[in-house]
């Protein structure tokens, strides 16, 4: 039993924390928030790529660092803490994971080195508008080497070089995955406004757009689901990092803000609120750590671990972000103060990959499946 990261991982974390504290400061995040023409911080993205983060889990033969899922979790937590305004989750947790999982050799050769170097940005486009973004909701059609339809919202869809999209093939219900060059003909995209402008989103229309198959025909949704499971764990670390940042911010404020002649942090209503955030965050962290281990060892209960980490982390971050504003009083409700940056991000992350309700349902389905096969 070793419930902890390794020495090297602690070093990685310190390095990441220091780097991001500097390069992804609130001013950097705010610059993306306040400038409508800025989708992400390009300098930060380039520097992250230079540090090798974009290629963390890509094998060395494809230009990556060949590190483990756990290492990526360490980085993810710090990205979440610092609200890094980059397409990291789309390109690394989703596009890269999908290519590693389902790409053929040519595709890996073509895309992975460019993804590792941060030269190409990938995204995964699933949702087609209002409603649960599940397999049944996909209307996009695939023809002979082309796709037609609209995806919205697509995280980082406005800046990505390519998208991975599930689309219907033939006449049946089969879904298959395709890679589409977003700079190619037949693709038009426009940015869509979201609750968190520090992470850009787009609506992408495909009209006879050239598409190359990824993975076996008909496997589309099962690949998406497996990619989502893995991404859920990585994103849980971002969420835990964000929740921790809120807890620290609120605790700090509570110690220094005085009312009625004493620190507001001496009022139990505030103390107990912060204790509850701490508890939720630690439970989420514990579930995320287990997820990290499952990710790295490809454990049989990976989907259970992923759903548990996802649910716990979404709840913790939303709670922490919301009560952080409350703890700050009027100050917390201002544009000037940073509380809302976390509040926005918390909600955004808990909707990306599908909302809490859906993941709770999935958690129970996975537990039922485990139970009926008699596995422990």
């Amino acid at each position: 039993m070793n419930f902890d990261f390794s020495e090297e991982q602690f070093l990685l974390r310190d390095q990441a924390k220091k780097f991001l504290g500097d390069r992804s400061s609130p001013d950097v995040v705010r610059a993306v928030l306040e400038d409508d023409d800025k989708s992400y911080d390009e300098t930060l993205w380039r520097e992250m790529a230079e540090l090798g983060w974009t290629g963390t889990t890509i094998p060395e033969e494809y230009g990556g660092a060949g590190m483990s899922g756990e290492d990526l979790c360490v980085i993810a937590e710090e990205l979440g803490r610092s609200l890094a305004p980059t397409p990291f989750s789309s390109s690394v947790y989703l596009a890269t994971e999908a290519l590693l999982m389902a790409g053929n050799e040519d595709q890996k050769q073509e895309y992975l080195p460019a993804l590792a170097a941060g030269e190409k940005i990938g995204c995964l486009a699933v949702s087609e508008g209002v409603g649960v973004a599940n397999a049944a909701s996909v209307k996009m059609r695939a023809g002979d080497g082309t796709v037609d339809g609209t995806k919205v919202p697509v995280a980082d869809g406005d800046i990505a070089d390519f998208a991975i999209v599930p689309a219907r093939t033939g006449s049946g219900d089969d879904l298959s995955l395709f890679i589409v060059d977003l700079n190619g003909s037949g693709v038009s995209r426009k940015a869509v406004e979201t609750v968190d402008p520090t992470r850009s989103h787009a609506e992408i229309s495909f009209e006879n757009a050239a598409a190359e198959p990824l993975g076996a025909p008909g496997d589309g949704w099962s690949i998406v689901q497996r990619v989502f499971d893995r991404a859920a764990i990585l994103m849980a670390f971002e969420q835990v990092g964000g929740a921790q940042a809120c807890l620290e911010m609120a605790t700090d404020y509570a110690k220094n803000r005085f009312a009625f002649g004493r620190a507001i942090g001496s009022f139990q209503a505030i103390k107990h609120k912060l204790a509850d955030i701490y508890i939720a965050t630690e439970l989420a962290r514990a579930n995320a750590y287990y997820g990290a281990w499952a990710l790295t060892t490809d454990a049989p209960d990976l989907s259970i671990a992923a759903a548990a980490a996802r649910v716990a982390a979404s709840e913790a971050y939303n709670l922490a972000a919301r009560e952080n504003i409350q703890t700050h009083g009027g100050m917390g409700f201002t544009w000037e103060f940073d509380c809302h940056l976390y509040y926005r991000r918390a909600k955004l992350l808990s909707l990306a990959l599908g909302g809490e309700r859906r993941w709770k349902d999935r958690l129970i389905s996975q537990l039922e499946a485990r139970n009926s096969t008699g596995e422990e």
């Binding site: 039993m1 620190a263 630690e282 439970l283 514990a286 709770k360």
Partner: protein
């Protein structure tokens, strides 16, 4: 990171499992131990179970062999605790004895006293109770009033304790008293241990919400305790009590019943209007929340094990587990009964699922949120000791104890 046992841990776990498989009946969903709290047969059965564990080398696992322990590690103790919970064993009659009295004795008693009391406790021959809380306050332990006055080689004790679990069957007790009412409240306390058959002790059971009487009022009238049974210095009782309570927090293996697995099973067995309860979205949401909490607490125990294996001292973070688990137990009890609809009101073990586990937990679970640090006190501990928030404004720290306001009683 590694959530599997190390080779050594696995070896010990296998040994524990083998021994348990031979000596106890494995738990299956819905099945409960043959005697409930409050049934007279329970106490001898619990003593016998401790005796068996002692003989098998699984009592006092982390304690030195010279005092009857196994000479193993805290980690092994936690592993055994985890495994033991998969079997039908008596409810924890010995948790105060093992979790509080023994560590306190080992820290403060004389060598001769350790030899005399510790092995006897591990064998199941001696059960201890904890004479701490008083009518004037449980959370505010340092507000206690039971007086101790020195008389030659003895101390004379007068006062009243309350909520003392198991006083009616305990052989021995740990006791905190006020030896100096002129000193500030934390500075005038003195700590003892005593034989519960000493003259001057009167025990009156208090009936609990659940109907049976596991805790008691204990009246002490001119009770004599030899000075040799004082633990720690005169006036140092608060420090000794802290030792006792810190060990309480670490004593592992709290697993509330019913817990996630029970309600998960119940949801699969229960038919609602449109099919099994497990298919109902509202039920699934609740189940998911309880799963992440139960799993989170289990994983935090893994964190505790890691800390112990590195020789670190468990910190106040571990207050989370009891706080989260006792609350979850109450919620699950309520929800399980709700799934049973009108029939959920029945307490008859032959008529409702799991032999009325949920109904019993309904009536028993409020106590878990009060005993051993209430929800509110644990949140204070987390916010002050973990997050570093300022303590409450205190009006009682510097004044002499006998000048403190006390409210009406």
């Amino acid at each position: 990171m590694d959530f599997n046992d190390t080779a050594e841990e696995a070896e010990f776990r296998a040994e524990a499992r083998d021994w348990l498989a031979e000596n106890a009946e494995r738990k299956t969903p819905g099945k409960v131990y043959k005697y409930k709290r409050g049934e007279p047969e329970l106490i001898p059965a619990a003593r016998a179970w401790e005796g068996e564990k002692f003989a098998g080398g699984f009592s006092g696992i982390a304690l030195p062999k010279e005092y009857g322990g196994r000479g193993g590690t805290r980690l092994q103790q936690i592993i055994f605790g985890e495994e033991e919970l998969n079997y039908l064993i008596p409810p924890p009659i010995f948790s105060i004895s093992h979790g509080m009295a023994v560590p306190t004795m080992l820290t403060y008693a004389t060598e001769e006293q350790k030899q005399r009391y510790v092995p006897a406790t591990l064998k199941g021959d001696q059960i201890w109770c904890q004479l701490f809380s008083e009518p004037a306050g449980g959370s505010d332990l340092a507000g206690l009033r039971t007086r101790s006055v020195r008389d030659g080689d003895d101390w004379i004790i007068n006062g009243q304790k309350i909520w003392t679990s198991g006083a009616h069957y305990a052989d021995m007790a740990i006791l905190v008293t006020r030896s100096d009412p002129d000193a500030p409240k934390h500075k005038g306390l003195t700590y003892f241990f005593l034989d519960m058959t000493s003259p001057g002790i009167e025990i009156r059971p208090i009936k609990q919400v659940s109907g049976y009487a596991n805790f008691n009022e204990v009246f002490m009238t001119d009770l004599r305790i030899p000075d040799s049974q004082r633990l720690g210095d005169v006036g140092q009782g608060w420090q000794v009590a802290i030792t006792t309570l810190m060990n309480e927090r670490v004593s592992s293996g709290i697993r509330p019943a019913p817990d996630f697995e029970d309600i998960f099973q119940l949801a699969r067995d229960t038919e609602l209007e449109d099919g099994p309860a497990i298919a109902d979205a509202a039920v699934r949401e609740k189940l998911a929340d309880w799963y992440i909490k139960a799993q989170g607490v289990k994983l935090l125990r893994a964190r505790l094990m890691t800390a112990l294996s590195r020789g670190e001292r468990p910190g106040p973070e571990n207050s989370i587990s009891k706080l989260v688990s006792s609350f979850r137990r109450q919620e699950i009890a309520h929800f399980g009964m709700d799934l049973m609809d009108m029939s959920g009101a029945m307490m008859d073990p032959d008529k409702v699922p799991s032999r009325a586990l949920y109904q019993q937990a309904l009536l028993d679970s409020p106590g878990g949120r009060i005993a051993a640090g209430s929800d509110e006190i644990l949140r204070n501990i987390i916010s002050e000791r973990v997050l570093g928030l300022p303590p409450d404004i205190r009006v009682d720290k510097e004044l002499p104890f006998n000048q403190l306001p006390s409210g009406s009683e």
